[in-house]
């Protein structure tokens, strides 16, 4: 009915307007700014400069490495926890709350907490490892490029897993119980049930979780900022930190905007197929 459609549009209008104002306007301004000139170059010189900037390439590599590792670990950990939370155990509500707690830690503060834990002299990790006699002397985890990246990945794996876990849990709960029963009657043990009933039914949800989590992790800023601030050197500097540094520390607005546009373009490339597939399902 035409009248109903107009009503729908009126309802959506305020939200759309707000989104355009808060997100759209700065986004467009940034995109326009990013095509400005940098140094002695002309139109679009910022993008050319990015390609030859070793720090930008390192940041891109770090972002990719970080996203791949964290998302993979999130899916594995999230699936494991979702399976546990889906089972019929006493006090299920309690475990569900506890499982969600890491997500409630604000990202910068979480980063600072981890940094404190990993502090060579006064941090808990070294203290425990020393007491368990795993090491002789204090080790500077965040001072080593490899270990710093490892620590950042572990920290974000812990903090961010509830998000994909909830998606997978919803998917698990949507699996019809009878399939499990039929598989049991067919003689399937736990592993056979997992690979033949749980996983195949869960695949669409795994895909959704991967896409959403990847987009989220590409943008990650606070946790790394609090934990290592991109260091040591630029071993843990991802694209978000790179843009931040360019904009706020070096006051290079055009250069920062161009890096931000590149990041946004990559995220769009990941998001668009996902959006199209969900729209296709609906129709």
């Amino acid at each position: 009915m035409i009248g109903e459609r107009w009503t729908a549009y009126w309802f959506v209008l305020p939200g759309t307007f707000l989104l355009l104002a808060i997100l759209g306007f700065p986004a467009i301004a940034s995109i326009v700014d990013s095509f400005g000139s940098v140094g002695s170059g002309g139109f679009g010189s910022a993008y050319l400069a990015l390609l030859s900037d070793q720090r930008f390439l390192t940041a891109s590599f770090n972002t990719a490495l970080f996203v791949v590792c964290v998302v993979t670990l999130h899916i594995i950990l999230g699936l494991a926890v979702a399976l546990l939370l889906n089972a019929d155990i006493p006090f299920k509500w309690f475990f569900r709350v506890v499982a969600l707690l890491p997500w409630t830690v604000p990202d910068v503060i979480g980063g600072l907490i981890f940094r404190f834990m990993l502090d060579p002299l006064s941090g808990g990790v070294n203290a425990i490892a020393f007491r368990l006699q795993l090491m002789q002397g204090p080790y500077d985890w965040l001072g080593d490029p490899g270990w710093a990246m490892f620590s950042v990945i572990m920290a974000e794996t812990w903090r961010g897993y509830p998000y994909p876990m909830l998606i997978l849990l919803a998917g698990l709960q949507a699996i019809p119980k009878e399939q499990y029963e039929a598989a049991a009657i067919d003689g399937a043990g736990r592993w056979a049930i997992f690979t033949n009933v749980t996983l195949p039914n869960l695949m669409p949800m795994v895909l959704i979780a991967v896409v959403l989590d990847a987009i989220w992790q590409c943008r990650l800023f606070g946790m790394i900022f609090g934990m290592t601030n991109g260091g040591p050197g630029d071993a843990t500097q991802n694209l978000s930190l790179f843009v931040y540094r360019q904009y706020f520390q070096f006051f290079e607005t055009t250069y920062a905007a161009s890096a931000a546009v590149v990041l946004a373009a990559v995220l769009l490339a990941v998001a668009i197929p996902y959006i199209r597939s969900t729209l296709r399902e609906k129709s």
């Binding site: 399939q179 029963e181 039929a182 049991a184 067919d186 003689g187 056979a192 033949n196 009933v197 195949p200």
Partner: protein, 362 residues
């Protein structure tokens, strides 16, 4: 040795006593139907046999082995679910082959057995399709194919035809019965439809709120219901039940219903004055139009044609009764007629306990 023995079985869900002290013996190759209204526990009982529900007390023996602690996957039974429970991402072939693959059967054996089952169930053209591409009836057959591919001795059916339309249901009933005769496996079949039970079963177990009301062949249940519940549950249209008292007439017991003297079965027992319920199946309500004063007066309120027969709804002494008769004499709504009953056709129940007061078989 019986195929499935259930001894003093109980099932509690927290405070809810779902299965109460049930004992049943199911013979090999027998087709037993568990029937009853919703919530009577028939599905629960079936699932306990399958191993999908735990036993609170009592024993379940399958082929002589007590299986209370045996997990479902080791009981070697086959089950057909109400919602088919097919694996959506596997082809029809793989759905049926799954159990054999789990047992690591060689490829040739799997292939042969699946194709055999597919031939029996007319699924050969559909082997490469996925369940989402099949109709309801086809899916049900795949579910059955999955069951018969295995070498199990006990088949369980959990209301498999409930999701099908009426015509398909009738057709599938016949097919399942034919399958049973061909394969000869012990079958336990759950349904809420008493017509299915009557047409398919060797023996029927009528259940109500967790207890067994009566176990018997369809004839036994129909002709000699053990209590009011079975009497009204079995048979469609259901038995007419009239509440009255035992009275003595000419030295013989009869039923006094609103002043009408209705015959008692010859083997009925009971003291005069006992509150009883008189039962007569619709086909045993004889309608006369010749005005004989010995018979009881009634008025026709509705006439329905059901093909070869007629259902006549009558108002009799303030109660509504239903008669089933052949199409012969013309009858019309509002017409005054007479009804009569025969002593060897009627039933008698104690109103308080519900139990039948007819002792010996006829």
């Amino acid at each position: 040795m019986s195929a499935v023995t259930i001894r003093d079985l109980n099932k509690h869900y927290s405070s809810y006593h779902a299965i109460r002290n049930i004992s049943i013996d199911i013979e090999p190759r027998e087709f037993v139907v568990l029937v009853g209204p919703s919530g009577c526990g028939k599905s629960t009982l079936l699932r306990m046999i399958a191993g999908l529900e735990s036993v609170t007390s009592g024993d379940i023996d399958i082929l002589g082995r007590t299986v209370n602690q045996v997990p479902a996957k080791d009981r070697n039974i086959a089950m057909v679910f109400q919602n088919y429970a097919l694996y959506p991402h596997k082809t029809v072939f793989e759905n049926m082959a799954f159990s054999l693959r789990l047992k690591k059967q060689p490829r040739e054996v799997i292939d042969q057995r699946v194709r055999e089952a597919a031939a029996i169930l007319d699924l050969e053209r559909l082997l490469e399709r996925k369940p989402s591409q099949l109709s309801g009836g086809q899916r049900q057959r795949v579910a059955m194919g999955r069951a018969i591919v295995r070498d199990s001795k006990v088949f369980l059916f959990d209301e498999p035809l409930s999701n099908l339309d009426a015509k398909l249901r009738v057709q599938m009933r016949t097919e399942i019965r034919a399958l049973h005769q061909r394969l000869g496996c012990t079958t336990v079949y759950v349904t809420h439809d008493q017509i299915e039970a009557m047409t398919m079963a060797d023996r029927i177990v009528v259940m109500n709120t967790g207890v067994v009301e009566q176990v018997g062949t369809p004839e036994e249940l129909y002709d000699r219901p053990a209590n009011l519940f079975v009497a009204s549950f079995i048979g469609s249209p259901s038995m007419n039940l009239l509440e009255g008292e035992i009275a003595i007439e000419e030295g013989a017991p009869c039923v006094d219903f609103q002043g009408h003297r209705l015959p008692c079965a010859p083997t009925a027992t009971g003291q005069p004055g006992t509150k009883v319920t008189f039962g007569a199946r619709p086909e045993h309500v004889h309608v006369h139009t010749d005005g004989d004063p010995e018979r009881h007066n009634a008025t026709i309120t509705m006439v329905e044609l059901t093909g070869p027969d007629r259902i006549v709804v009558l108002e009799f002494a303030g109660e509504t009764i239903v008669a089933e008769m052949e199409k012969r004499t013309p009858l019309s709504v509002g017409q005054r007629v007479e009804v009569s009953f025969q002593a060897d056709e009627v039933h008698l129940f104690d109103t308080a306990t519900g139990n039948s007061l007819v002792s010996a078989p006829r």
